[in-house]
């Protein structure tokens, strides 16, 4: 961006929009913790929430777990690589935990992302990650000992959990 374009951005507008995005991800995190059943989330709060734009760039991530900062930065581009955006529908939810496919730094951190539709078009992606307890962990010699490795797949289709993912 050129210096003159930067000068045209009103710092107050930037602050207002930035704070609105921050409050959205903070609220997402609060809902995640308060509604959760897992001790690791409801007590330890080992989870993080963020908003991404349609290209998969992070807009905002809440100040929950510093280690999660940027840990799922590649998740939306990895989802978009495998699932064309034009075939997505409201209520679709994507899941992944593979560090080699944009999600997390270890397999217990499971990442969920859902496109938000406004007037029939994807406007943004809310994303969360949560450290699941009792997630295999038979050692750390290689990734297969850590647990189930989930590539970015579609877990929900139009708000219905897909039977093929469950079984």
């Amino acid at each position: 961006m050129s210096a003159s374009a930067l000068n045209r951005i009103d710092p107050i507008t930037v602050e207002v929009i930035g704070s609105a995005l921050s409050s959205i991800v903070e609220e997402m995190g609060e809902a995640l913790v308060r509604a959760s059943f897992s001790t690791n989330i409801k007590e330890r709060r080992d989870c993080s929430t963020a908003l991404f734009d349609t290209r998969g760039t992070t807009l905002c991530q809440a100040e929950h777990i510093p280690m999660h900062l940027g840990s799922f930065i590649g998740i939306i581009p990895e989802i978009l690589k495998r699932h064309p955006a034009e075939k997505m529908q409201p209520g679709d939810v994507f899941i992944g935990n593979d560090a080699y496919a944009g999600a997390g730094t270890h397999l217990p951190d499971i990442v969920l992302g859902e496109p938000i539709f406004i007037d029939g078009r994807i406007a943004a992606w809310p994303v969360n990650t949560a450290h699941h307890a009792d997630f295999a962990d038979r050692g750390h010699a290689h990734i297969y000992q850590e647990g189930l490795r989930i590539p970015p797949i579609r877990l929900y289709r139009r708000a219905n959990c897909r039977a093929t993912c469950r079984s």
Partner: protein, 199 residues
């Protein structure tokens, strides 16, 4: 006038607990009515009791407060609590977990007594002379004078409407100490507020 009462009982939401809910509600009502309203002198017609239950899905750590359906405790009460919790969960978190067992954690009663608003009456003017409230004098170091000065001390309880004090002075009261700096003046208004005018 309001007071809050609570009873914590961890119960699974199901029909066999109707008797238990009845007993808890009866105990909360007794604590509100026979004890608190009676002590506070609230007449029967001026008594209100609102009952609610803190509920969660079994396994959660955070409860949502759900109003207890009015009337006698029946199967409809259980259904009403379940529907109320599902609706509150949906409203707050955007979803509800169908078929997940629900728990009752804490029963709460909010007892409200309707009372007349306190009347504020202006008091009679006692004139500007505040000497009757003087407690003595004390040497006080003030940044305005850069040295110790002898300050009169006043008792707030003995200051009356119209009394006038010139700074420097100190007013003592049960819960605060008021410093009137040099050049400032304090006047007591008809409602016994101390109005300070700064130089």
């Amino acid at each position: 006038l309001r007071a809050d009462f609570s009873a914590t009982r961890l119960l699974a939401l199901s029909s066999p607990i109707i008797g238990e809910i009845e007993a808890i509600v009866a105990d909360l009502r007794r604590r509100c009515c026979a004890v608190w309203f009676a002590d506070a002198g609230i007449e029967t017609n001026d008594r209100r009791v609102a009952l609610s239950v803190d509920m969660r899905y079994a396994g959660q750590n955070y409860e949502l407060s759900i109003p207890l359906p009015t009337g006698p405790v029946t199967y409809a009460t259980i259904d009403g609590l379940a529907a109320g919790f599902a609706a509150a969960h949906q409203r707050l978190y955007g979803f509800d977990a169908e078929d997940e067992p629900m728990q009752l954690v804490t029963f709460r009663a909010e007892a409200t007594g309707i009372v007349r608003k306190a009347e504020l009456r202006p008091t009679a003017d006692a004139g500007p002379d505040a000497r009757a409230a003087e407690l003595g004098r004390r040497n006080v170091w003030l940044s305005e004078t850069g040295a110790f000065v002898s300050c009169p001390l006043y008792d707030r309880e003995r200051l009356f409407a119209g009394n006038h004090i010139e700074g420097p002075a100190i007013v003592e009261q049960m819960d605060a100490t008021i410093l009137i700096v040099p050049g400032a003046t304090a006047t007591v208004d008809p409602y016994l507020n101390l109005l300070l005018e700064l130089p």
